[in-house]
């Protein structure tokens, strides 16, 4: 069955005439789910326990199997369950709207086109977690997005969906918009928290600073991505079990896939998780529509530039279980990977923030990696040694290689630098983010890197001989 879009989050966003104001949102059933959530009564379970409305909501999210849409794909229900609810300190919710993984532009669609959906998701999530004060950390470049959110917050407050005693349910909540100022590292949740505290966004060491216990102002804090928080609304609307029927096991629901690079139809597509393969996303006329100008596929960056690349024609092995319960190993072409969290991780990469970047056979692979490494060298916060020094080192080496200063050994040189950065050597996952592309590009296209370096070296030698002769 060919893949089709399944629009849950973006159901209305692109409908002609749909506007980001409250009236339009309410005409489309907006805030009805919040009303439902706030009207929940305590429930007694078969085993005699009484569940508060908050506990019921959290259980629905756990049941839904929702995984974070920001990049790590961590279970949202689990994240919420780790919150220290006995500390006596306030619990904060921070919406991560710092959308900055290159290739990703999904949260932009939600914020600009359907901001109340995000607010409703946040208000429900705040209620479910006894949050009284929440922030939206929005990347600074979304200037208009911040204005749209501020307008939406004002409307919601005026309508009684925010502020004191929301919908007369005795629940108080304020949401404020906090603007970043151009730093990728603020997407890392503890870096984001530091930034929100008015400090340089240096990610915190974990242990001890797990946000669920020692987050914003050293209080328990939940940091969820924009899309994740929107899903909460739909989970509460549908019920967790019903939601979990969307997508595939362990990869439930829908997610917005961002497609960019050298395809006919770049853009965003909301699909049930795992119900579309990379091939469908890239080549299906309803999605990417294939490559441009009759070009051939060379590389897929499957989950934002920090994910490890796939090479066209690459075969990957996926473990599964046959009908008899025995473990099976299924070898398939990388294009046939279902686009979900589990399969891409099993294939040695990740779906990350849902950003697929396609490179065709005209691409200079060395230049593409140099571009990515420049980004990471620019964005490393510089707090810890391997990332601070390694990211710029790799970038300088690649810059040299793209400007004619290559050496035959540069492929190995790059790989060795990259190998000293990831694997838990750094404070945060930026160490992986900056080194995985280098490891995978150099690993999978070693001949191109080596050829480029050798050619540069040979040319310099020839020039040198020519110079000696004259």
């Amino acid at each position: 069955m060919p893949a089709v879009e399944h629009r849950l989050i973006l159901k209305h966003a692109d409908t002609p005439g749909y506007t980001p104001d409250l009236a339009c949102y309410q005409r489309h059933g907006g805030y009805d789910v919040l009303k439902k959530a706030l009207a929940l009564a305590p429930k007694t379970t078969p085993d005699g326990k009484t569940l508060s409305p908050q506990e019921q909501l959290r259980q629905e999210v756990t049941t839904s199997g929702l995984r974070g849409r920001g990049g790590a794909g961590f279970s949202c229900g689990m994240k919420w369950s780790l919150v220290d609810r006995k500390s006596g300190k306030p619990i904060y919710l921070v919406c991560n709207a710092d959308e900055s993984e290159p290739g990703t532009f999904k949260d932009r669609q939600i914020i600009y086109k359907d901001p109340h959906q995000l607010l409703e998701g946040m208000i429900i999530s705040s209620f479910a977690n006894d949050v009284r004060l929440a922030y939206i950390y929005i990347r600074g470049e979304f200037v208009e997005g911040a204005k749209i959110l501020n307008r939406a917050i004002a409307e919601a407050r005026a309508a009684g969906f925010l502020g004191r005693n929301i919908l007369a349910a005795g629940f108080d909540l304020e949401i404020h918009v906090h603007r970043g100022a151009g730093a990728y590292i603020c997407g890392e949740e503890t870096g984001l928290i530091e930034s929100l505290e008015g400090k340089r966004p240096y990610p915190r060491i974990k242990p001890p600073y797990f946000p669920a216990v020692l987050g914003l102002y050293q209080c328990p804090t939940i940091v969820n991505n924009v899309e994740t928080l929107c899903h909460v609304k739909h989970i509460v609307a549908m019920g967790g079990a019903e939601y979990a029927k969307l997508g595939t096991p362990n990869n439930t629901g829908t997610r917005i896939v961002c497609l960019s690079g050298q395809v006919q139809r770049p853009g965003y597509f909301e699909v049930e998780v795992g119900k579309a393969t990379l091939r469908e996303i890239i080549f299906d006329p309803a999605f990417g529509g294939g490559l441009r100008d009759g070009r051939k596929l060379k590389t897929i960056i499957p989950g934002g530039v920090s994910s490890k690349v796939f090479k066209a024609g690459e075969k990957v092995k996926l473990k599964g279980r046959g009908p008899d319960g025995k473990e099976t190993v299924n070898e398939l072409d990388v294009l046939d990977l279902p686009y979900d969290f589990t399969s891409l991780m099993a294939a040695g990469s990740m779906s990350g923030s849902g950003a697929v970047i396609v490179l065709d056979d005209s691409t200079d692979i060395v230049a593409a990696l140099a571009n990515i490494s420049t980004f990471f060298a620019h964005e490393s916060c510089g707090q810890c040694t391997p990332c601070r020094e390694g990211s710029l080192w790799m970038s300088k080496a690649l810059d040299r290689l793209t400007h004619g200063g290559g050496r035959a050994q540069d492929a190995d040189y790059l790989a060795k630098i990259a190998d000293n950065i990831p694997g838990g050597r750094t404070i945060c996952a930026f160490g992986e983010a900056c080194s995985w592309p280098v490891q995978s590009f150099v690993g999978k296209f070693k001949d191109e890197f080596a050829a480029k370096g050798a050619a540069d070296q040979a040319r310099r030698q020839n020039n040198g001989q020519a110079a000696t002769k004259t």
């Binding site: 620019h378 916060c381 810890c384 601070r388 300088k396 080496a397 000293n420």
Partner: protein, 566 residues
């Protein structure tokens, strides 16, 4: 700080929960909780467990007296924890030992708590490779200018390079250039190219001193330690950042380019600049002092000391030091003759005709001898208090190092200095005919030149000349604390040893030596000829020091109750 630390000595330690872990195969039992930099009990970390096991973990940013930053990544180790079965109980091997699940990711030993049964692998090939990697990263942009670097010889980059360094660099890119010779403040210079951004200096001044003066500007590999333009890094603790800096980035303007550290002889002593008595090391070479650096003593100063105390050594080398003993007549100028003449004058003195202005800058042993002298002569004694500014950290308002000693030995009046008016009156009335002054200029404290002129005998012992020494009939040149041995009792009752680092100039001698000789000439009884003997005799005789032995003072001293019997 010192107060809290001192109190610890008297409080019985509460019972502690203990955790058994393995470090490189060696079983070690550590407390479940250990004090953090503020003394608060927090889970014991891997680095503490390794230390307990005698396994050194290389590190740059970690410092036990600062908040943990975890940024240098040099202390990464591998580890494993006991595998748990479905029943949450440890799974065992056939031989009964626990099955260990090795963590796929390393952990920083400085910030990771230990858990029961944890195994820490601190010296595997993987761990060594990580250290090599970190060290390589730290060195790629470093100028490698060791020959002209003041830190050479006490540099952690050099030290770890021996174990984890490579003889040749593979780095072929252009280095990042950063500011050199940045004048951070009146006492500190910064070379940003040598800096490894461990943030020890920032944390120290922000979190310990409370002066949020340093920060990091720019981003990534261009990160640079800086003050706000126009703002000086100038609090009374800035020089500690030079000690803290594991590399040659922060240097002391006073010390830089003066001496290679490996030529310095280090002598353990105590700072005499205030009543706190910070423990220090005197760095000297060929009879010249080049620097004081703090010596860690958790009960007194931790690893810190103030800038004022640290730089308070220059006067020791002053040219106008008192170098010659002098008697009442020009021909009396050897110590033997001067002391003989002085003894001759003192021996017949009647009770009440001699007064002694001693000094809480003298050692316990010296004050003990003065006490004996005063008892023999029937002389009244006192000391002059010197008060200044104190702070909430280390600096005490009492600028005498041995106020408590002078009080416990009965030398000071209550309060100290209260007898000076009586001395003035006694001199004026002709009752006091002899005044002996140690380490003071009494003309500044109500005993002016006119009064001193009425005395039959004025004896002044000091290290530097002043109005009193100019007027004195007898001058007895003494020693700076760095030139003699002895002990001070700090403001909280901690008795600590000072040690001789350099020779005094000319004929100057330790006060305890000539006091002992003078006493013998007057009493015909020998005083102990060594500091050890003197101290032990004092401890036997003076109740406040009962139970102490010189040897037991060790390098870090012993705290005595300030009010004996209570």
């Amino acid at each position: 700080m010192s107060e809290a630390a001192t109190a610890k000595v008297f409080k019985p330690a509460p019972p502690v929960d203990r955790i058994t872990v393995k470090v490189d195969g060696q079983v070690v039992v550590v407390p479940k909780l250990s004090p953090d930099w503020q003394g608060k009990l927090v889970p014991t970390t891997m680095i503490q467990a390794c230390e307990a096991a005698g396994v050194t973990i290389p590190h740059y940013c970690y410092h036990p007296q600062l908040p943990v930053a975890g940024n240098c990544r040099m202390c990464l180790v591998e580890f494993g924890t006991p595998a748990l079965g479905p029943d949450r109980k440890p799974v065992t091997n056939p031989d009964g030992s626990a099955v260990i699940n090795k963590s796929p990711r390393p952990a920083i030993a400085c910030a990771t708590p230990v858990s029961p049964g944890m195994e820490i692998y601190a010296n595997t090939p993987g761990v060594k490779a990580m250290r090599q990697g970190v060290l390589e990263f730290l060195l790629i942009n470093h100028p490698l200018d060791c020959p002209i670097c003041d830190q050479a010889g006490e540099c952690k980059l050099q030290e770890y390079s021996v174990e984890y360094g490579q003889s040749a660099t593979r780095f072929v890119e252009a280095k990042v250039h950063k500011p050199k010779a940045v004048d951070l403040g009146p006492r500190i210079m910064l070379d940003d190219e040598r800096c490894i951004l461990c943030t020890r200096c920032i944390r120290f001044t922000r979190d310990f001193v409370g002066d949020d003066a340093l920060g990091i500007v720019n981003r990534g590999s261009y990160n640079t330690i800086a003050t706000y333009p126009g703002h000086k890094f100038d609090n009374n603790y800035t020089l500690n950042t030079v000690d803290l800096c594991p590399v040659g980035a922060l240097t002391s303007k006073d010390f830089r380019f003066e001496m290679r550290v490996w030529f310095l002889r280090e002598t353990k002593s105590v700072c005499p600049s205030c009543g706190t008595g910070c423990n220090l090391l005197i760095g000297s070479r060929e009879n010249r002092i080049y620097r004081y650096t703090p010596r860690d003593n958790p009960a007194v100063n931790g690893p810190w000391m103030c800038d004022a105390g640290r730089l308070d050594y220059k006067w020791i080398a002053r040219d106008d030091r008192l170098k010659d003993a002098r008697g009442s007549r020009p021909e009396v100028r050897t110590w033997r003759d001067v002391l003989a003449e002085l003894a001759g004058r003192l021996r017949p003195a009647t009770a009440g005709s001699v007064a002694i202005v001693a000094s809480a800058r003298l050692t316990n042993e010296e004050l003990y001898l003065i006490r004996k002298l005063a008892q023999r002569l029937g002389a009244a004694t006192d000391t002059i208090p010197h008060l200044g500014d104190g702070d909430r950290l280390l600096v005490n308002a009492d600028k005498n190092p041995n106020t408590a000693g002078a009080r416990l030995l009965g030398i000071s009046a209550k309060p100290a200095g209260a007898n000076l008016n009586d001395f003035a009156a006694g001199i004026r009335d002709g009752l006091i005919k002899t005044l002996i002054v140690f380490r003071e200029d009494v003309t500044r404290f109500g005993l002016g030149a006119d009064l001193l002129g009425r005395l039959d005998t004025l004896v002044a012992s000091n290290v530097l000349p002043n109005e009193t020494t100019k007027l004195a009939h007898f001058v007895l040149p003494g020693c700076a604390p760095a030139e003699k041995r002895g002990s001070f009792t700090n403001i909280h009752g901690r008795v600590q040893r000072i040690t001789k680092a350099v020779e005094p100039p000319g004929d100057a001698r330790p006060e305890w030596e000539f006091l002992g000789e003078l006493l013998e000439l007057i009493t015909d009884r020998r005083a102990p000829a060594t500091i050890e003997g003197l101290f032990n005799q004092m401890a036997g005789e003076v109740p406040a020091f009962h139970g102490l032995r010189w040897a037991a003072l060790g390098d870090s001293g012993v705290t005595m109750p300030l009010e004996p019997g209570k």
